[in-house]
């Protein structure tokens, strides 16, 4: 062994302090806490959709919430595990959640071909509000996830960027979903899909630079 390597090893040994092994469950807890915080902020500042407030929410609300939360947490689970590298350890569960979530835009697309929806069904002004609040919530959740991920050693920063974006986009949309009163498939297919796509793109652009090591 060369002298340089020996002195490097001596230096590293001198610098050794006990560390706690990273636990992805902590990263998931951070994600869950931020999701609850953004949902509370939406409920407090904007209100809760009236049928939910009365305890009689529409079935579409449950479908939409379930799909968004599943996509968000399945993806967050994968990305938090990326903090601990290892050869052959990639989890792909999030792909199935994404496939299930894509049923909303696909159904909306097919229905639009069969029966062109009126512009009112897309509600552009409320849609833009939906998009804005979802993206702001996604930014808050994504920042927390990225900060946690920085402690780890993700070896595929680009993939981690996409996944942080998808997870935080889905969870940000789930937060706005508490307020959003609309149930039609055209609206959901467009305005609940866009935040996930935009957030995924933002994650891909911003996150890799922040988590490289």
């Amino acid at each position: 062994m060369s002298e340089v390597a020996n002195s490097l090893i001596d230096g590293l040994v001198d610098d050794l302090k006990p560390v706690k092994a990273l636990r992805p469950s902590m990263g998931l807890a951070v994600t869950a806490l931020l999701s609850v915080a953004t949902m509370t902020a939406v409920a407090t500042l904007m209100g809760v959709r009236s049928d939910l407030a009365m305890g009689m929410a529409d079935e579409m609300f449950f479908l939409r919430s379930g799909i968004l939360l599943m996509l968000g947490f399945a993806t967050a689970f994968t990305v938090m595990n990326m903090a601990r590298p290892g050869v052959g350890q990639l989890s792909r569960g999030w792909v199935w959640a994404l496939a299930a979530a894509s049923l909303f835009p696909i159904t909306a697309g097919i229905m639009s071909i069969i029966n062109t929806p009126p512009v009112e069904a897309l509600r552009p002004s409320q849609g833009v509000e939906c998009l804005t609040v979802s993206i702001l919530s996604a930014l808050a959740i994504g920042s927390g996830m990225t900060t946690w991920l920085r402690q780890g050693a993700p070896t595929s920063p680009e993939r981690a960027g996409w996944l942080v974006g998808i997870a935080s986009g889905a969870l940000g949309a789930a937060a706005y979903n508490i307020f959003c009163p609309f149930n039609d498939i055209y609206y959901i297919g467009l305005w609940f899909t866009l935040p996930v796509i935009i957030s995924a793109g933002l994650g891909r652009l911003a996150v890799p630079k922040l988590i490289r090591w």
Partner: protein, 174 residues
């Protein structure tokens, strides 16, 4: 001879707890393992630097080791990450020193095969792997690689870029 997987795992768990003696042994074993791991996968003159950078990464990121899992796949994932990173930085080296081929330890063959860098190169399209090996590992210039492969110079550059990107995405999948 390099210590076996179970010993390395035990040393790493102790090192996470702050045991300096175990850590010193672990770093020495890791140094040997990495030196062999990188042999022929990077210009020989760059091996020392790469091994040292990887040891520093091991130190900085030691909390990311999962004590319930095997040590070598973790070290290999860090090693691959640093390797691809260093390939990105290397443009041309004109070293043609001879270096000895390291002989693999039979007991480590299965792990080494699973995590080998060669396998990673084998998983990207041949045209990309060829030019990465020529330019980044053997130290040929872009023009020389273009002449040998019959690809245009800009295609060589594009293939190197795409190949490195693809390998970086493959680190954890395989």
């Amino acid at each position: 001879m390099i210590a076996n997987e179970e010993t390395l795992r035990h040393l790493m768990v102790k090192a996470q707890g702050g045991d300096k003696q175990c850590y010193s042994s672990l770093l020495m074993e890791s140094e040997k393992w990495l030196r062999r791991y990188y042999a022929r996968k990077i210009n020989p003159a760059a091996i020392d630097d790469l091994v040292q950078e990887t040891l520093i990464s091991l130190h900085r990121k030691r909390a990311s080791y999962d004590p319930t899992k095997a040590f070598l796949p973790w070290l290999a994932a860090i090693g691959r990450y640093r390797w691809i990173d260093s390939l990105r930085k290397i443009y041309r080296h004109d070293h043609d020193e001879l270096y000895e081929e390291m002989v693999a330890d039979p007991q480590e063959e299965s792990v080494t095969a699973k995590v080998s860098l060669e396998r990673l190169l084998g998983m990207i399209p041949e045209k990309q792997a060829d030019v990465i090996a020529m330019v980044k590992i053997e130290g040929l210039s872009i023009a020389e690689a273009a002449e040998q492969t019959g690809q245009s110079e800009s295609l060589v550059k594009v293939n190197i870029h795409r190949g490195l990107k693809k390998m970086s995405a493959l680190i954890e999948s395989e």
